[in-house]
Assembly symmetry: C2
Homo-oligomer: 386 residues x 2
């Protein structure tokens, strides 16, 4: 995998500062990946996403498989060319959306049988197909297909599911190696340098997590994700499981905590050795008028902002804070203007990506722990879980 | 009115190239004004509107009166400061939306009595109040309150309405002079250099139009609008009435055709002496997937674009055409992404504003008529009315 590499350049406690090289450019870690579900970060143009400081975006295989279809995207030379985003892209396997969105889902050893939530059409996603689809999309980082469990799951259910996920990971990797060797007909590989990450499961059970780490690392991937968290378990438990799992993963590979999280999750889990994050929170909250600031969270719908001349956050340098008042943003939100979604998303994304930038600096300057304490103190009300 | 001036710098037939100076900057004419109904051009940030080449936007008094209210805006120092758009703004009087949106509208000599379409609250808009509201908003150009008739109107109905509009224009002007002299208490004037335009009515009846011109010009305004067109009359008749009305207006004042129009309307009416236009067509059509190009109109929903790798318009230099294919734009539209509205609006607005730029050049170089013929030939399918 010459096109893909990862290097840790500094550490501070368990926190790691690194650089991920991909066929479409470098990602500075710890990194937050904005979610571009259907090939677009909602309410933004790609240029705005780049200007917000994002090195990489996440796209959802399930959505793109249904519309416009992976084969159509492959005919356009892959997802980067199709959507016109020329920087790194990570695709998930589609599994999470099958469990949360699709209908009549049946899981067998072979894979996931489901009906599209859009038109009811029958689909079968096997580990091999999830790998093929992502090869056609040509993302820089592909994820293995895994089984996503709801919280809480009994130990037995979590164990059965975890061992199945390991077997699926083996099949995904075998398929990836076939694709790389060029021995598969009928799959147009859009990105020869695509990396593949395994996913650690095992719920909140330390022994199952350890077993999953050993088996998945045994298969051998370019990076490892921590899956099955942020699904309803208590926050402290989530941080603890993410941390103990991260600490057992290979030091020379990137570690990605899937689906997290709050600003507090980001900083707590960087402090426990996580390198990559994705979450819809900054973008979805923005569209709902929930805004992150250095002084706490703002619900822009609140009548108290009707005449507030101040920017959302006096310390923020985003377009929204440099040009507009809370009063105008509230007006746009209340009258239902689309530009409310755009301006709010620009701000929240900047808050997240600036937080990551500050985290990276703090690791380099060996001040991560004091930064962490100061950040959590000043933005205590940011945690949705508190 | 030292802050406001208009100068014609070149003519080509009846077409005029000019410069309108306002307290918030210069407007090159002939000019197209994008519509920012509620203080935002839908789906765009202000910077994008500027970068598209707009010198001036239009905002709707009716909408801003209801939300967030003219007094709140005045407390923020006026509309420019409230919305953060520091270039020229024209506000309408609110009349058109009262006739098209409001409920239980009753017109008396005093003004328009109506109920808000939002909450049913009772409102009274008199010529004086329409003038006061726009003074609070502090737009660079305010419009007089006039009565808007549906087409067709009998000559008698049109005559009665036109003469009432003239009396209202006199009252608007008298109120404006009081505001300028500082003799009105309780109205915070946000823009001391605000100009006021009269509006010519009279339907499609030449004698009534002439009578309205004489009476309105007799009152004396900084500029004159041609109202009551683009309401259902045949296109050729609209152009003829606009042209004959424009030809009777003072040469040293700007002439604004309200609510028009199609690209064909713009070029035909510039050729008949009109200097300013506004219309929701480029922005509304964009949100509905209707796109203007140099080769004709595109309905991006059409399945034929599903795999079309070309930009919307190979001759266009907008962000959308430089970055994205028709296939991606169709995908975004079909899956309902907000960015579809943004990207489409950027393109349509650029098409309109580039057309105006080309028109201005053609007048300067005395090639307006050949430009007009070439434009109408190559973009014949652009007219919605053909």
């Amino acid at each position: 995998m010459s096109a893909f590499s990862f290097r840790v350049s500094a550490t501070d406690g368990a926190a790691r500062r690194g650089e991920l090289r991909t066929p479409h450019g470098v990602v500075q870690t710890p990194a937050f990946m904005p979610v571009g579900t259907q090939g677009s970060v909602k309410a933004l143009r790609h240029r705005e996403v780049e200007e917000s400081g994002a090195d990489v975006i996440l796209a959802n295989t399930y959505h793109l498989l249904l519309r416009p279809g992976d084969e159509l995207i492959a005919r356009h030379g892959g997802l980067h060319r199709f959507i016109g985003w020329m920087r790194p892209i990570l695709t998930d396997s589609g599994g999470f959306q099958i469990f949360s969105l699709a209908q009549q889902v049946k899981i067998t050893e072979d894979g996931a049988d489901f009906r599209s939530h859009l038109d009811g059409s029958r689909q079968m996603l096997t580990p091999e197909r999830a790998t093929d689809i992502q090869a056609r999309l040509g993302s820089d980082i592909a994820m293995v297909l895994d089984e996503c469990l709801a919280f809480p799951a009994t130990r037995d259910v979590a164990a059965t599911s975890m061992t199945r996920s390991v077997r699926w990971a083996q099949r995904c990797r075998a398929r990836m190696q076939e694709l790389r060797s060029g021995s598969v007909d009928g799959v147009a590989v859009s990105n020869a340098g695509q990396a593949q990450f395994g996913i650690i499961q095992g719920g909140v059970h330390p022994d199952l997590r350890n077993e999953s780490v050993d088996a998945t690392v045994g298969v051998g991937f370019e990076g490892y994700a921590i899956g099955g968290l942020s699904v309803g378990e208590p926050t402290d438990q989530m941080h603890a499981v993410a941390g103990s799992t991260a600490s057992r993963l290979p030091k020379d590979c990137p570690r990605y905590l899937m689906g997290a999280g709050t600003p507090r999750d980001l900083i707590e889990c960087v402090g426990r050795g996580v390198d990559m994050f994705d979450c819809v929170m900054p973008t979805r909250h923005a569209r709902n008028g929930q805004l992150f600031t250095s002084e706490g969270r703002i619900n822009i719908k609140n009548a108290r902002y009707a005449e507030d001349d101040a920017p959302l956050d006096p310390r923020c340098e985003c377009y929204t804070c440099r040009h507009h008042s809370r009063a105008y943003l509230r007006h746009l939100y209340m009258v239902g203007e689309m530009s409310a979604a755009t301006l709010n998303t620009l701000h929240n994304l900047r808050f997240y990506l600036d937080t990551m930038r500050r985290i990276r600096d703090a690791i380099v300057f060996q001040t991560f722990d004091s930064f962490r304490q100061e950040f959590l103190r000043s933005t205590a009300c940011l945690s949705l879980d508190s």
